[in-house]
Assembly symmetry: C2
Homo-oligomer: 367 residues x 2
Amino acid sequence: MQFETNGSAPRRLHHLLTRWIIGAWIVAMMAACANQTTAPVPDASRNTPAAYATGSSASVLPSWRDGSARHAILTFIANVTREGSATFVPPEARIAVFDNDGTLWSEQPAPFQLLFMIDRLKAAAPAHPEWQRSSAFRALMAHDVSALSEHRKELLQMLSVANSSMTTDEYDQSIRSWLTSATHPTLHRPYTELVYQPQLELLDLLRANGFQVWIVSGGTAEFMRTWVTEAYGIPPDRVVGTQEKLTYEMRNGKGVLVRHPGFDFVDDGAGKPVGIFRAIGRRPILAFGNSDGDREMLEYTATGPGPSLALLVHHDDAEREFAYDRKSSLARLDKAWNEAVERGWVVVSMKRDWAAIYPMPKSALAK
Amino acid sequence: MQFETNGSAPRRLHHLLTRWIIGAWIVAMMAACANQTTAPVPDASRNTPAAYATGSSASVLPSWRDGSARHAILTFIANVTREGSATFVPPEARIAVFDNDGTLWSEQPAPFQLLFMIDRLKAAAPAHPEWQRSSAFRALMAHDVSALSEHRKELLQMLSVANSSMTTDEYDQSIRSWLTSATHPTLHRPYTELVYQPQLELLDLLRANGFQVWIVSGGTAEFMRTWVTEAYGIPPDRVVGTQEKLTYEMRNGKGVLVRHPGFDFVDDGAGKPVGIFRAIGRRPILAFGNSDGDREMLEYTATGPGPSLALLVHHDDAEREFAYDRKSSLARLDKAWNEAVERGWVVVSMKRDWAAIYPMPKSALAK
């Protein structure tokens, strides 16, 4: 019996990280800009849920404008919950899977987990005087985009070192601590407020209709687990993600898990159906993504034996969020778009279909 | 960033499989015996739940005899559910993990999944005429224990081939089909009836007290998922196990997962805390095992920050089930026993603590 690493995994990993790293210099640049100019705080009134809700059943999905996407969702939910009908799906098989970055919350100018990892790197720098001689580190600190791009591999290694060696309990604390203090470089809100209001309503509607809602993300489960229960109402054991290398050890009489550089499993692209099978054990009937990394997850869902619904968020709203698709170096939506057209998947336009993007800022709600 | 297989995983894998294979020749031998003599059908009246229940709170855990094990369980549950007390644990943190083979159902003369895999091998033989020349195959068919023991590696390879290449959907069907027809070689009951009645009562009691119950087993999740919901009331997504290699493919317009020889993750020994962290994301407060493969899981649970309970089933009942512990080549209970003594874990004696072993046979209930 062989015991080999799947040959395609390192390639997928490299691809995933390359996409993230390309995003990294964008954020470095934008953060630099943010130091000089203050981006406008979004107008809360424009984002108030329900403000734009019109058409039928306005009380459900109030931040979804009436249109083909909203209609497809409501029709699908009605079909699978109508007892006695040919399209009925029993509650235990109502599995809904959502990508996270770009589907449930924003992912520009780079996935927020990468921003966290970069902050960890900066925080770890005093303990690594040798980094001062590193071209990648100097480029990162100087926001030197072109130099950073040349020294990607070195940056990856430093990121890896800065985000390993500690126990999972310690890492968990550092994530929680970061999330309470960090804010988005241009939107100036805590990251956990940059979740999509229409999706929060959809998650609630699905649960009210007996669905089990799961996150299936290219990020790591441990990063997401610290905040998704409060943000989305999704429990920590319903988060499927990329898996860091871990070993079990006894330290000071306590059993702990220690993080090591590298990943055992990359939950992206063709890895997503594998991650779904391993964690959930059943084929989903609803899948929601936003990029080529979600293509196989949507395909696996949509080619199942019974009714299914596959959806993609199209980021076409530069004014209220960000606009990027086929040409994006980060989170490209190209092949999945082609397959959506071919197979009749639902493409959700942020601009047209969503009356609001983010929930009201907590600071505004407190007033 | 490196992408290497954890160096200790192949060793653990080999260890696990070796233990299983040693069991394999025992079962081959016993199956041969079973062809000649009919073992006595267990006396259902001796196994009737509640028949022996005595002492306090007899209505809960009726198949557990009053004693220190039952007392420890009831005290622990009372402590963690008493609101306002220092030992109170909120429901979302009431995670209970159970090993499967030897803890929730029998595992002698070999883990039942291995018996299934051997049956798959025999069924696949006509498609592999080259196996007729294999010493391992001939030894298996002839129940030749010593020859089989000499050709272990070859047997492993055949097992691997016979249990891969098909899709997970096809494999799932073959498991379900096997479970409906196969019976235990000496107990002559369907395998899914060889679950432990006292444990069924404990699972119910835990759930009634707000616990989330998970299986964490060295077997594969996909084998267990087909029957654990009906047998234990545990949903398919609460099963953590060893993970076979899988790839996602399109076949005839349908997205499928194809099984390949070998494992990506071995959920045994020090792998169990890793599997728990990845799937559940929280440290359990109750863990129940029966062998050295569960030692780290119990240790990880028992060294957590709050109240915890670690338990081991001791198979000391040759009359009603099987008797094996420190010297067993399969599912040895030795190091974990030492640690149980040292740390005060609860050792449950099947002979003393369990009034019944199995539920009433379904055939008897139907009468």
